[in-house]
């Protein structure tokens, strides 16, 4: 099997392998738990390797298209037709970038889960749903078709909601899952309504074909409003953020790390809609301003709500809202300036900052949730007033927590600093107040995490906690993410140049996105 054949079919394979493996997992589970664990980890490792190879090809050679079921996968528009009729997967730099995030965090979550859920029942179903979450995320990120986007969105929602309620012997786990599912299904229905409005006008479902036909009618504007509100609700931006702390807190720690990435898949969909679908309409600057506003509100309200929390995971969930604000601010500023002469100087840098922050957020927030899970695993409580002195016994977890905390607070030289600096410098040119608020939020984040560090890890050791750190597989899961953080902290310039810049470039370049499917 040669490499070009694999690369040609990579978009479909990356979705098909975990989908097939997901339904194989319960069968293997009946025979041996050990083989099942090895199988799931093998699938996740294969996904990660394939994704790295594929993403590298996309970053160097440009957009990949894949037509499902066509004799020749690269011919998107059939001969007898003027528009694409089959489902088209379209992977550009931004999609590949998001795919890398999803597979990396899934790999870490997979390793972490092995020990974390060892004592639970129904593990076969747990891993099935975990793989289905990966399918949903990759599908949302790779698809070039509006309806397909909706289908993968729903797959992701159902799998996530079931996993949030995994420990259903806690009443609050089911309560959090109920909220998550209600929010998801409302968002899904709104998305479908918007898709129906677009289909009714243009008769196509392909994003590139829709973007080419877009005529900026009133109905288009209504569809844009519906899509922005649905995806902003699902990515946890502030006016619709209330469900995030509830469902993140109660999910098993490895799933919380996955939920962070699942929310980012919705964030990706939001950006894809604004840039690729509505990129040449007159609504660009307005939607950019709306994203900036959402970003500011999320940053500020998220962090101020986080400070008084006593539950460690709830505190981190509010920080997740606050960090999502940075991404919305950075990319929103880019969208606001799109088409202006300023775009090449400040707009691009703002988008790079926002997009780089997505990856950094997935790494450090995933890591922090995993350390919170490790604390819960050891002490059986999430209440910060009861936890103390863990640094005496959990040495590695302490180091991982500190790295994550420094990174989220944006302390140099960590990767959080690199992306935040890009955002500060560039949004300053949009409005200086934006930078000031962003820096203020960063300082409050540091204060909040120092409080957590002090109360959880410092002080005399707790009496009824056994010595020693958490099991090796959990440490390994945290190590995967820590390695990513350290790598990104050492070479931020290379990462921005070779991974983030192609992603930002492809998101901003709408005509290339359309040309890849529709031809010239």
């Amino acid at each position: 099997m040669n490499m070009s054949y694999v690369l040609l079919h990579a978009p479909a394979l990356l979705i098909a392998i975990p989908l097939f493996a997901a339904f194989l997992t319960p069968i293997i589970d009946r025979f041996s738990k050990r083989v099942r664990n090895i199988f799931v980890l093998a699938v996740l490792i294969i996904e990660e390797i394939l994704m790295i190879i594929f993403a590298w090809d996309v970053f160097t050679n440009g957009i990949h298209v894949y037509t499902m079921g066509a004799p020749n996968p690269t011919s998107t528009v059939p001969l007898q037709s003027a528009v694409p009729v089959r489902i088209v997967l379209e992977v550009d730099g931004m999609s590949a970038f998001m795919g890398l995030i999803s597979t990396t965090v899934s790999l870490a979550a997979g390793f972490y889960s092995i020990a974390f859920v060892r004592k639970e029942t129904g593990q076969g179903k747990f891993y099935t749903l975990l793989l289905l979450m990966l399918v949903g995320m990759l599908g949302m990120e790779f698809t070039g078709d509006m309806f397909n986007l909706f289908v993968f969105f729903e797959i992701l929602s159902i799998a996530s909601a079931a996993l949030v309620a995994y420990r259903s012997y806690y009443g609050d786990a089911v309560e959090g899952a109920f909220k998550y599912l209600i929010i998801s299904s409302i968002a899904g229905s709104i998305v479908l309504f918007a898709i129906a409005i677009l289909y009714g006008q243009y008769g196509v479902l392909n994003i590139a074909a829709l973007a080419k036909a877009m005529k900026s009618t009133t109905l288009d504007m209504i569809a844009l409003v519906l899509l922005i509100s649905a995806f902003a609700m699902k990515c946890g931006s502030v006016p619709m953020h209330f469900w995030i702390p509830d469902s993140y807190t109660v999910a098993p720690a490895s799933i919380t790390a996955m939920l962070v990435v699942a929310s980012q898949a919705s964030l990706y969909a939001l950006f894809r809609i604004c840039f690729s679908l509505y990129g040449n309409t007159s609504y660009v600057a307005t939607s950019g301003a709306i994203l900036i506003l959402f970003g500011l509100l999320s940053m500020f309200i998220g962090v101020t709500m986080a400070i008084p929390q006593k539950d460690i995971k709830r505190l981190m969930s509010y920080h997740a809202i606050s960090q999502t604000g940075y991404m919305l601010l950075g990319v929103g500023a880019g969208l606001y300036l799109l088409g202006n002469p300023d775009f090449s100087t400040h707009g691009m840098a703002a988008m790079e900052g926002g997009i780089f922050h997505i990856f950094n957020h997935a790494l450090y927030k995933g890591l922090l949730f995993l350390t919170a899970g490790a604390i819960f695993y050891k002490t059986k409580t999430r209440n910060l007033n009861e936890i103390r002195g863990l640094a005496h016994s959990m040495k590695f977890t302490t180091i991982f927590f500190l790295i994550g905390a420094f990174s989220i607070a944006g302390l140099p030289p960590f990767n959080g600093f690199a992306s935040k600096l890009l955002i500060y410098e560039s949004v300053y040119h949009v409005n200086p107040i934006l930078s000031i608020i962003a820096m203020l939020v960063s300082i409050l984040t540091l204060a909040s995490f120092m409080k957590v560090f002090h109360s959880a890890f410092m002080g005399p050791p707790m009496k009824d906690v056994e010595r020693g750190d958490v099991p090796k597989s959990m440490l390994f899961g945290m190590m995967v993410l820590t390695a990513g953080i350290i790598l990104f902290s050492i070479i931020p310039g290379w990462v921005v140049g070779h991974i983030v810049h192609p992603a930002a470039q492809s998101l901003a370049n709408q005509s290339a996105y359309i040309r890849a499917v529709m031809g010239d």
Binding site: I158, G171, S185, A196, Y199
Partner: protein, 119 residues
């Protein structure tokens, strides 16, 4: 005017569904609201594909004398609706099973009393 009635009906269903989800306190009623909301969207999709005096989009079932594309309703919205209905059933089943679990843990379905998380 008369042609717009299906669109209005679907919009009303969506609004009724949203109202139920936002303002009803009983978890089962919220589940009903979700279903009504989905039905509104499905009805909207089906209405989009309607053509006057057209037959179902089955190729072999076409009456004599009708031209192929114009004589049939649009098949794509029907395929979309079918998919959406299947997804809706899965979501509804999951919501209801969560409601059962919540009732077992809390002994109530009133959303004002199901708030252990907020403490």
């Amino acid at each position: 005017m008369i042609y717009n009635i299906p669109y209005m009906a679907s919009a009303i269903l969506v609004i009724v569904g949203l109202y139920a989800v936002l303002f009803k306190r009983n978890l089962i009623k919220i589940a009903i609201g979700i279903t009504v909301l989905e039905s509104g969207v499905n009805l909207f999709l089906i209405t989009l594909g309607y053509r006057e005096n057209a037959v179902a989009p089955i190729y072999t079932n076409l009456p004599e004398g009708t031209s192929i594309p114009e004589g049939m309703t649009l098949p794509v919205p029907q395929a979309l609706t079918l998919t959406s209905i299947v997804i809706g059933v899965a979501v509804l089943a999951l919501i209801l099973s969560f409601a059962v679990k919540i009732y077992q843990h809390y002994g109530t379905l009133d959303s004002r009393e199901v708030r252990r998380l907020r403490e």
